[in-house]
């Protein structure tokens, strides 16, 4: 129970003309400044449950300044922010069983502005892991875990079909197992580009671009598994570790100079997390990789795309890994495109809602917010008069396309930058 809730104790408030304390005469009024103050007004049990967990410590550092609340993408569509979570622990909310546990997308905008470095990117996975261990997980997220564990991808598609998208690429997509030689670039395709119909569009576009540039590349095909990073952030650390081990073993079978990934989440996984499990290779997101080849690519971009385009910064490319320029450089290289920036861009970019497990919590999040983050975002794109919302994260295309439809912005075209480049390369 709360201790010392009665902050003022009138019986102790007396007035004396001369007060001698330890031999010194202090004049003035006696007040509670002179006695021991109650510093713990609230029950700390719920807070300590979090801060006692490895990774959960920093929630205790919050001093309630609410800078995070101002930038939290969820608070814009709901009632939620790290500061609010901290406050709620004081008034009896147990984060372990609260719906708040599943709303954070680990977009990192709070950490960017937090003076105390309260790190939700560590707090959330730590607390969620405890919920996962006891099975207290929203069913849709649990299904994504189960599908990932069973099939190697969160979409629940058969592993043996992981390279099927390539058949319709119209260009060769060499598979390492058949290639039997070293390549310059190992292209990690990722689950959504491999299986989601709109992801496949981007994957096929990438294949055509790589071929046009004469890149010496190969993919892992059915030896590739989901990177698992979002599952880790959603609390299934064991699943992430299992996938990391399997992927690292698959990478290790082949020789390559560098890896290129389609998705920012994979980029984050391979750059920042896999090295902890023994991975040792260089990795680039496709936007940076293609910028390196821009001299050769630019002359191929012949067909103008005369549209007003805005760009959505993926949280895991921008804030998490500091890449803001490469996607924009690619867009600027496409003739005809007029690039407009939305208000929330770059370091303060809004979140699509798909990170940190949000991709598999759509119904849950919708229940606890006034609108989907993706819906808020397409509205913003429309407010800025954009005709095309350009993205470079495989989570986003389907999220934003659905949101464009559900918000009545059907005219807004959502395209991966790969698709725009591919389109511009057509004769």
């Amino acid at each position: 129970m709360a201790v010392g809730l009665d902050k003022v104790r009138p019986d102790k408030v007396t007035e004396e003309k001369h007060l001698v304390v330890e031999g010194m005469d202090i004049s003035g009024h006696w007040n509670r400044m002179f006695e021991q103050r109650v510093i713990w007004d609230y029950d700390v049990d719920n807070l300590e449950k979090v801060t006692n967990l490895p990774g959960g410590e920093s929630l205790g550092w919050c001093y309630g300044c609410a800078k995070c609340t101002a930038v939290c993408p969820i608070d814009i569509v709901g009632d939620y922010s790290p500061r609010k979570i901290h406050r709620k622990t004081q008034i009896g909310v147990d984060l372990f069983t609260s719906s708040d546990l599943w709303l954070c997308t680990t977009c990192m905008n709070c950490l960017r502005v937090c003076p105390k470095e309260v790190n939700m990117i560590q707090i959330m996975p730590a607390v969620r892991e405890q919920a996962v261990l006891t099975g207290a997980v929203p069913p849709e997220l649990q299904k994504a875990f189960e599908d990932t564990a069973k099939h190697g991808n969160p979409l629940g598609q058969p592993q043996r079909k992981r390279a099927d998208w390539a058949k319709a690429a119209g260009v060769p997509v060499p598979i390492m197992k058949d290639l039997k030689r070293a390549v310059d670039i190992l292209w990690y395709v990722g689950s959504y580009p491999a299986y989601h119909p709109r992801g496949m569009d981007a994957a096929r576009a990438a294949a055509r671009i790589f071929n046009a540039l004469g890149i010496d590349f190969g993919i892992l095909g059915i030896e590739e598994k989901d990177d698992g990073d979002s599952q880790r952030l959603a609390g299934e650390k064991g699943l992430f570790e299992m996938l990391a081990e399997q992927n690292i073993a698959a990478f290790g079978k082949y020789e390559f100079n560098r890896m290129v990934v389609t998705g920012p989440h994979e980029f984050n996984a391979f750059k920042n997390e896999y090295p902890k499990y023994g991975a040792d290779f260089k990795v680039a997101h496709y936007t940076r990789f293609l910028v390196e080849h821009l001299d050769k690519l630019r002359p191929m971009l012949k067909k103008p795309i005369n549209l007003k385009v805005t760009f959505h910064d993926p949280c895991y490319l921008g804030r998490h890994n500091g890449e803001y320029e490469a996607p924009r450089e690619l867009l600027r290289a496409i003739p005809g495109i007029e690039l407009v920036e939305m208000g929330r861009c770059r370091e303060n970019g809004y979140c699509c809602g798909g990170g940190g497990g949000g991709m598999w919590l759509d119904s849950f999040t919708k229940e606890h917010t006034t609108m989907r983050l993706s819906e808020r975002r397409v509205r913003e794109a429309a407010e800025y008069g954009a005709e095309v919302l350009a993205v470079c994260c495989p989570f986003e295309v389907s999220r934003f396309e659905d949101a464009a439809k559900s918000t009545g912005n059907d005219k807004l075209i959502v395209r991966d930058i790969l698709e725009l480049l591919d389109e511009s390369m057509k004769e």
């Binding site: 996962v132 064991g238 699943l239 570790e241």
Partner: protein, 256 residues
């Protein structure tokens, strides 16, 4: 209550199944093995029964793949208490008669009150192991069961017939049950938990006797030739929807 769950690993049916060189079996080495899905239900029903009536759940299988431990660790993560592995020269695709006899011999010494196993497996060419284990142990068997409730040394089981009709039976324990479906879908075992358990779990190892044999010999294995094949419609959802709607209209099945 002492509950034992015999389990079986089978080829992953979502994989492409290939026939071996002499055409009498599968090319097992090319296949990924998974736990028989009916056994997943048996494990779930066992854990539910334990949660309801107390007791211990022991999961046991013949290690035909060298990878049985993964399935056993998962079962432990779901709430089983003990796990045992029968080892010996039993390759992938070992027949049901052999597995049933090995399992029965191992289970006998465990003196179970209740044996729950999957009602069937996709590779049961020579029959289902549940009734065989029951026969070896001289225990009553009821299969195609979708719910088990234990009370006062007796089990009430619901056996499914066609059309949703069910027969209710009261069986004095011990007995063997062939589980068709647990009364709730099998729970997910978080990999985090499975991995924790894999580090500490002790799996009893039982040396298996010799193979009993199926009693019959496969002389030819082949993929069924399709009697016919659908006329395939190309195109995306819009085009296909158009064609289906036209057909429904043509048959006069449009409402209103």
């Amino acid at each position: 209550m002492n509950i034992v769950v015999p389990i079986k690993q089978i080829p992953n049916l979502t994989d492409e199944l290939e026939i071996n060189g002499d055409g009498t079996g599968l090319d097992h080495d090319a296949l990924q093995y998974v736990l028989n899905e009916f056994d997943e239900h048996a494990i779930e029903e066992a854990v539910l029964a334990k949660e309801a009536a107390g007791g211990t759940v022991t999961v046991i299988g013949v290690d035909t793949t060298g990878e049985l431990d993964g399935a056993l660790h998962t079962a432990l993560a779901k709430g089983a208490d003990k796990a045992a592995r029968i080892t010996g020269d039993f390759p992938r695709g070992t027949d049901s008669h052999t597995q049933a006899k090995l399992l029965a011999n191992a289970i006998r010494s465990l003196s179970p009150d209740l044996v729950l196993t999957g009602v069937q497996a996709a590779d049961d060419r020579d029959g289902q192991i549940g009734p065989m284990i029951a026969a070896h142990l001289g225990l009553p068997y009821v299969g195609v069961v979708t719910g088990v409730a234990v009370k006062d040394g007796k089990a009430i089981v619901h056996k499914e017939y066609a059309g949703g009709l069910m027969g209710e039976f009261e069986v004095s324990l011990p007995m063997v049950v062939g589980v068709q479906a647990a009364h709730q879908p099998p729970r997910y075992a978080p990999v985090s938990k499975v991995r924790q358990i894999a580090k500490t779990a002790k799996i009893d190892e039982i040396a298996g006797d010799e193979a009993a044999g199926a009693g019959s010999t496969v002389r030819r294995m082949f993929k069924p030739e399709a009697a016919g094949h659908a006329e395939m419609w190309e195109g995306g959802p819009e085009e296909v929807a158009e064609k289906i709607a036209a057909l429904i209209k043509e048959k006069g099945l449009l409402k209103g």
